[in-house]
Each structure stands twice: as C-alpha cells, then as structure tokens.
C-alpha cells in the first residue's frame, strides 16, 4: 500500500469508473458524505500517521503477515504447486478485518462518532464490531433476517462485542437488503456517521478504498513468493467473489502483470442455469446496484433478482465494479462453483490439510478440481476465511453424506 502513486490500467479513473463500471449513483442526501470521503480518503490513508497506526494494528492486533502455506497434499492431488494465503488465521477469522481496521482509522480522522455496516455471513459485521470496540465507537450492523438465522454464532459475537444488530426484513432478507438498510441509515444520519462498507461495492470511492486496504494481501504474497519461489508472482491466483473484496486484495498488485492469471470464482448455487444462483457474470447484465454501475442479476424490467448461495458471504446479486471491468476486459477468468462442489472442496481441505475453510473460501478451492494445471505451476488460493461460522451447515451435509 506504499505505492499511492502507481496507477494500473485497471485502477479507478478520476470520475470513479473502472472502464464502463463504477461511479456514484447516489441520492443527493448522500452527496456530502460521499464527497467528503472522496476528497479525503487518499490523503488520509497514505499519510504517515495513518500508515504507522494501520500497519501496527495489522501486525500486532490482526496477526499479519498471514502465512503463505505450501499445501503439499493438495498440491500432490491437483498436480501443481499450491499455496494457501491464510487469511483465515487473521483475528476474527477472515480478511474482512484488514478493511475495517483501515476504515475505522479513516472514520476517526474524519471525526465520526458512529459506525454502521452491513453484513452477509457476519464476518464483516464481526470485524466491524471488533474495531468499534477497539476504538470505542458506537456500532450498528444491518444483517438480513435470513442470514441472522443461518449465521447465528456471528450474531452472538457481534452482540458480545457491543454492537447493535438490526434485522433487515425487506426483500430477500439477505446481504443486498442489509446493504439497502445500511444506506438508508446513512441517509438518515448524515453528519456523525461513517458507513464501513465491507466489500468493493457501493459508490465511488468505496470500491477503490476497500481494494487499497485489502491490497495488503497481494503485497505480502509478493514478498512471501519471492522468498519461497525466487520470484514475486505466482502463475495463478484464485479467489472467491461475492462483492469481491478478498479477490480485489489478492489480485491488486498483479493486475498489470499479465503473466499472472487471475481467477474469480462465483457462487453458482444450485447451478448457473437454475434460478437459485449468485453467479453474476454468468447471469447478470449491466445496471446500477447500491449506487454503482456494474454487472448484476436483474429482470428485463430492471428489478434486482434475489440470488442464492449456500454461502451467505457470496449471496449477492452484483459484483464490485472492478470485477465487472476485469470480466469485460478479459483480464480476469470468471468461473463458478455450485453449493455441492464447494462443500465437497471444503471437506477435502479438512481431510488433506487439516483446515476447515469458510464456505466462501471453499468456492475458491472448488476451482482446483476444474482447472488443468501444469506440474510446475505456482497457484495461490486465497483462503479468505475459516469455517467455524459454517459448522452448522457443514454438519448437516456431513451427516447427510454418512447416511
């Protein structure tokens, strides 16, 4: 993140667009908040004092750098040299904390007193509640009613950390609706509140802000690969994409290195050809969701379609505008994995490497079975989170399989 000056051709432009995608399609009520952020975020996050505190917390509080682990048994099975970037070992169990640490420091610098966030799987909600406790700021997390039921341990974690969890009861009652409610809260609290968006979605500058804060993932990968492989890049980086923050972080420093294949794995749900899916690039078209022009799943009339994925963190009908651009420009390889393939990949990692991955990350792992690797290829799978929060789902499938 030290390279504030470097601009990739895949970076956001001055109008807040990645190619055809992005922008800030916000109602006037949000204009002062978003403008304040746009005018200040780069100055603040690249200031010496911010960097010192951010880096310090990432090291001593989050436990970074996260290991880059050579998964030997997985490598043997799939015939490539497979590394796992262990974001699952971060404090709070996922990559989400990289972003919330950065945004809470930014919010403090902007003089905000109250934090709001949306959450799907609860990982971003927990990461937000955590940094709010750390910085003694009021925290309100919006979560879809459906997700509150399927991610109960994370709801309890947020409450223990002192956050207020508000159930989003509109629409499909999942991540999209939680995001709507958080945006409505921000409209109603325009002065003292900062909205910590959890992914590379929303109005400019959020996609760029979150990508920059998450870019620590690929920054570390470069150093770690240099040490282990004698070159700072892999042949392939694989990450799951809901909104796409872990993928944006894992891809960030390789965007301009065309030798690196960037693989984004979307959630196919029951299958990309069914209506129970969250595979946005396969099923979506251009439009505006949550104030950003991007690809989203919608009807012919422009109504946003309710997605489905077994993974609450990928259950989102859009993707971040940076990913829409990577898809359309052909720079990214977009694939998908079904619920079933992902659960199977999750169990496989348990047995081969002794790691229970989050269901989101299991989608990235499911790609290994579909890919055709060459023997000496170096592949990094971003293991974005751990599976503790998904035990109820895993146990259900596990018991089913043993019958």
């Amino acid at each position: 993140m030290s390279d504030s000056g470097t601009q990739s051709k895949y970076s956001v432009n001055k109008r807040g667009f990645y190619g055809d995608f992005g922008g800030a399609y916000i109602p006037e009520m949000l204009y002062p908040n978003v403008k304040e952020l746009e005018d200040n975020y780069l100055r603040i996050i690249y200031s010496e004092s911010f960097q010192k505190e951010f880096r310090g917390l990432l090291k001593d509080y989050v436990g970074r750098p996260s290991p880059l682990y050579h998964a030997k048994r997985l490598s043997e099975k799939y015939g490539a040299k497979i590394y796992l970037k262990r974001e699952d070992l971060n404090h709070t169990g996922a990559h989400k904390i990289n972003n919330t640490i950065g945004q809470i420091l930014l919010a403090k610098e902007l003089g905000k007193k109250r934090i709001i966030a949306e959450t799907g799987a609860g990982q971003h909600g927990v990461a937000t509640a955590t940094v709010c406790a750390l910085m003694n700021l009021e925290c309100v997390v919006y979560m879809g009613a459906v997700d509150i039921l399927r991610q109960e341990p994370n709801v309890k974690r947020m409450l223990m950390l002192g956050a207020k969890v508000v159930s989003a009861e509109s629409g499909s009652k999942t991540l999209k609706d939680a995001t709507n409610e958080a945006i409505r809260d921000w409209i109603n609290n325009p002065v003292d509140t900062h909205y910590i968006i959890g992914s590379v979605v929303g109005p400019h500058p959020y996609p760029d802000l979150v990508a920059r804060l998450q870019s620590v993932i690929s920054e570390e990968m470069m150093e770690q690969l240099q040490e282990k492989e004698g070159r700072n890049y892999p042949d392939v980086v694989v990450a799951c994409v809901g909104g796409g923050s872990n993928a944006a972080g894992a891809f960030y420093h390789y965007l301009d290195n065309e030798k690196v294949q960037l693989v984004a794995v979307e959630a196919a749900g029951h299958g990309v050809d069914t209506d129970k899916t969250a595979a946005t690039t396969a099923r979506g078209s251009e439009g505006v969701i949550h104030a950003s022009k991007t690809l989203l799943m919608q009807t012919e009339d422009g109504q946003i379609v309710e997605p489905h994925s077994i993974s609450a963190g990928l259950d989102y009908p859009g993707i971040g505008p940076i990913h829409a651009h990577l898809f359309k420009s052909g720079r990214g390889t977009f694939v998908s994995a079904t619920d079933e393939e992902s659960v199977a990949a999750g169990f496989e990692l348990c047995r081969l490497e002794g790691i229970i991955p989050a269901l989101e990350s299991a989608h990235a792992l499911a790609y290994l079975k579909k890919a055709k690797f060459k023997k000496d290829q170096v592949v990094v799978v971003n293991l974005s989170g751990r599976g503790d929060k998904d035990l109820a789902t895993y146990i259900k499938w596990f018991d089913e399989m043993r019958k």
Binding site: R15, Y25, I26, M29, P32, I187, V191, D301, Q303
Partner: protein, 256 residues
C-alpha cells in the same frame, strides 16, 4: 407543445399541491383511477412512482407499495402504456419518479422518447447524480422536452444549490430533512433551512417533499416554497381501501 409544468408555474406561484402515488398500487389497474381522482380533487400536479425492488431513498411505506406493485405485475413498460390512457383523461402535469436501474434497462433514449410521446412532463430520479446527468443524459432529455428534477437537502452547500439551480429547468425538490421518505412526522425543525433557501431567491420554483403528511405540514412548507409534495401519507391512505377513488379524494380534501 409547451411543457405542462411550465404552464403551471406561470399561472401559479404558491400553494401548489402535488401528490405521489405508486404505479400499479394498490392494484395493477389503479393507476388511472387514482390519478383521475387526484385531478378531480384539485391537486396541481402528480408524481407517479416507478416501482423498484431496491428503493434506497424510500422508507417502509413506499418500499412496501413498490413490492406490492411489482408483485401485481407493474413494470416501466406497462406504466408507460398506462400513461397513454391516463393522458386521455388527465391534463395535469405528470412526473415519473423512480430509480435509475429500470430506466437504464428500458434504454435512456427510448425512455425519453416514450415519455415525450405519452405526455410525461418530467422525471425525478434520486440516484441519477448531477455529474452523470450533465455528461450523459441532459442532451437526450432536453431533446424530448423532458424536465429532470434535482433534490436539495439541508446538508447541501449554498454553492451546490446555486449550481443545481443553474441547471434546473422545472423546479427544485427541497427534501425537508436528511431522511428517507416518510421517516418523520411533519417538518418541525426544517423551517430555518426552508427560510434560508427562500432568501436565496433562486430562479427555479421550489417544492418541498419528504415528511409532508397533512394540512399542517403542507401549510408550513408552502410558507417558504411554491408548493409541497405528499407521498407516504397518501400511499398509506389508499392502502387496504375498497374504494381507492373515494380514499384518494378524501385524502386531498383533508389538505384543502
């Protein structure tokens, strides 16, 4: 033909009453009878909401009406075809209010053209920001004599209000407080802001909206602006009513 909004503002400078209703609500074919009832009850202009699945700037009442309207089968395409029938019986200025995504899917140029053909006088798209409007949309809307209405809030800076005024060609929509629609009862606390705007002597007429719910708040708002818009309170008044025409007229008669 001259834009109906321009005609309205030429002959009337104060006490203008506008009502917002959601298209296809409470029933799919209620748009025409409701709009006709509003004209007969003496409303000055009408906003018809294009239902959207994710209405970010709206509170629960309009959200719920949108959800019902979509379930009823309302689409932008159908609304524009209903407009043809509405225009046979209604001569008031009509604005469509909705979010950018359904308009993008319809196609901007097609939308503007169809609006012009069916007698839509203007549009309010809260999530179409000024910058995008000026660069990508203005030319098309102007070509079809379609007014695009901008919002101003208590947090909008004076400089930006002047900028919006300069680029407005219908009226300026004064959002009474920083909130989603129908969030607060009444506009207490907004008077200082409304008075501040009044003293700016803008070239565009101003109409106050959000949280205007009854005669009291309507009279308060129109002290400072040319008129006011009632949305959520009206939608609530026609919800669960067997006779929407009477319900619509009765509501307007409580205002004036």
């Amino acid at each position: 033909m001259m834009n109906r909004l321009d005609l309205l503002f030429q002959k009337k400078e104060s006490n203008i009453l506008s009502i917002f209703t959601t298209a296809g609500y409470p029933k799919l074919n209620d748009t025409l009878p409701v709009v006709k009832a509003l004209q007969e009850a003496g409303v000055d202009f009408i906003e018809i909401g294009i239902p959207f699945s994710d209405p970010l700037a709206d509170g629960p009442v309009i959200q719920d009406s949108s959800t019902v309207a979509i379930e009823n089968g309302m689409t932008l395409k159908l609304l524009l075809s209903q407009m043809e029938d509405i225009r046979k019986e209604v001569s008031l200025p009509i604005l469509l209010m909705g979010y950018i995504n359904p308009v993008l899917q319809y196609g901007i140029e097609n939308f503007a053209k169809k609006c012009s053909e069916t007698g839509v006088d203007g549009i309010i798209i809260p999530d179409l920001p000024m910058r995008e409007y000026l660069e990508d949309y203005k030319q098309i809307f102007d070509q079809y004599n379609l007014k695009n209405i901008f919002l101003v809030t208590p947090q909008t800076s004076e400089e930006r209000i002047r900028f919006i005024d300069e680029h407005s060609n219908g009226f300026i929509y004064l959002v009474s407080s920083s909130s989603t629609t129908g969030k607060k009862a009444g506009i207490d606390g907004a008077e200082e802001y409304l008075s501040r705007i009044q003293k700016m002597n803008l070239k565009s007429p101003t109409i106050v909206g959000f949280n205007i719910s009854n005669k009291e708040s309507f009279l308060k708002a129109t002290k400072y602006a040319s008129g006011a818009i009632i949305g959520s309170a009206f939608v609530r008044a026609i919800t669960n009513q067997a006779d929407v025409v009477s319900a619509a007229k009765n509501f307007v008669h409580t205002i004036r």
